[in-house]
């Protein structure tokens, strides 16, 4: 999950770092395995946090929560959330499944309000899984093979999708690892493209099925 957010957050930091203080808090090992074992001491957790900051090139302070996750739990214990805190120290907004474009819009609004108050309804609950599907593998790969086996057992196909997303990264990243929302025209274009693909596929399937040529329609789809 988290590792899918690092690149978009870095882009967000490049846009807003002069006006907003970014802070990361390292929580538990979400997908433990041999290369990323469950923390058994604070020193282990600190060492892993150092590696996390270095490997992912995080340019803002990385803090380390205690083993029991006191801070994480008081903030709700969510998978990988991000809070936007206003200039007075109050919660302006939070996104339960970290999503940089949603945060970008919230920061823009907070700036319009002079850095104070609740913005954009205060909470975003959308399960934004595309960043995790594109770059979540970077976290998962640290605990192989146990991290993948456990995830596939808990939720079949999610680990495999993360691997697939990693293979398709060059294609997906411009869409899924953004800091700014896609322009409306691009969204409309993508939606149109998806509809066109479905229509074309259905037409070709119908034409071939009229001739009872199932084999051909399948080979056209998959070949």
């Amino acid at each position: 999950m988290t590792t899918g957010s690092v690149e978009p957050l870095s882009k967000l930091h490049a846009l807003w770092g002069d006006e907003v203080d970014f802070v990361d808090v390292v929580i538990r090992q979400a997908h433990p395995g041999p290369g990323a074992p469950t923390y058994h001491s604070f020193e282990e957790k600190m060492r892993d946090a150092e590696a996390y900051q270095r490997e992912f090139g995080i340019e803002w302070p990385v803090l380390v929560d205690d083993l029991a996750g006191a801070t994480h739990q008081v903030y709700g214990g969510l998978g990988a959330p991000t809070y936007l805190i206003d200039s007075d120290g109050r919660v302006a907004f939070y996104v339960m499944w970290t999503h940089a474009p949603t945060l970008h819009k919230a920061i823009e609004q907070l700036m319009r309000q002079d850095g104070r108050g609740v913005v954009n309804g205060g909470v975003d609950r959308t399960p934004h899984i595309l960043p995790a599907m594109t770059d979540g593998w970077n976290g998962l790969r640290r605990g192989l093979p146990q991290s993948l086996i456990d995830l596939e057992t808990a939720a079949p196909m999610t680990g495999v999708s993360a691997w697939l997303g990693h293979q398709l990264r060059p294609l997906l990243a411009p869409l899924t690892l953004r800091a700014k929302p896609l322009p409306p025209a691009a969204k409309a274009g993508l939606a149109l493209g998806a509809v066109a693909l479905v229509v074309l596929g259905a037409q070709s399937f119908r034409r071939d099925s009229r001739r009872n040529d199932w084999k051909r329609s399948f080979s056209r789809l998959w070949g």
């Binding site: 988290t2 590792t3 957010s5 690092v6 957050l9 967000l12 907003v20 970014f22 802070v23 990361d24 808090v25 929580i27 538990r28 090992q29 979400a30 990323a36 600190m46 946090a49 150092e50 996390y52 302070p61 803090l63 380390v64 929560d65 205690d66 029991a68 996750g69 006191a70 801070t71 008081v74 903030y75 709700g76 214990g77 969510l78 998978g79 990988a80 959330p81 991000t82 809070y83 936007l84 805190i85 200039s87 120290g89 109050r90 919660v91 939070y94 339960m96 499944w97 970290t98 920061i107 907070l110 850095g115 609950r125 976290g139 998962l140 640290r142 991290s147 456990d150 057992t153 808990a154």
Partner: protein, 90 residues
């Protein structure tokens, strides 16, 4: 203990009162050895229940050790907006 939540809401340090919270996970439950379906379900439930610090409320204050040395206290950042990301390296 309700008192602990109130103390935290009024700006007391998280770590000082955390031990008194009655709805916290135990160390083993929190710091698990295997990712299981229940963890995914708990994320889904948290999303549905809108768990988290209510917008408009004070962000609970904490002081945590920082990679590279030193500590950082959240309330020191007041005066500018802050973005607080919780994440796991795996």
């Amino acid at each position: 203990m309700q008192n602990a939540r109130e103390q935290i809401a009024q700006g007391a340090d998280v770590t000082r009162w955390f031990g008194s919270l009655d709805d916290k996970l135990s160390l083993d439950e929190y710091n698990f050895e295997h990712f299981r379906a229940k963890h995914l379900l708990s994320d889904a439930r948290a999303t549905i229940e809108k768990r988290g610090v209510r917008p408009g409320a004070m962000a609970p204050d904490f002081e945590l050790p920082r990679v590279g040395g030193g500590k950082l206290r959240l309330s020191e950042l007041r005066g500018r907006p802050a973005l607080l990301h919780f994440g796991s390296p795996s």
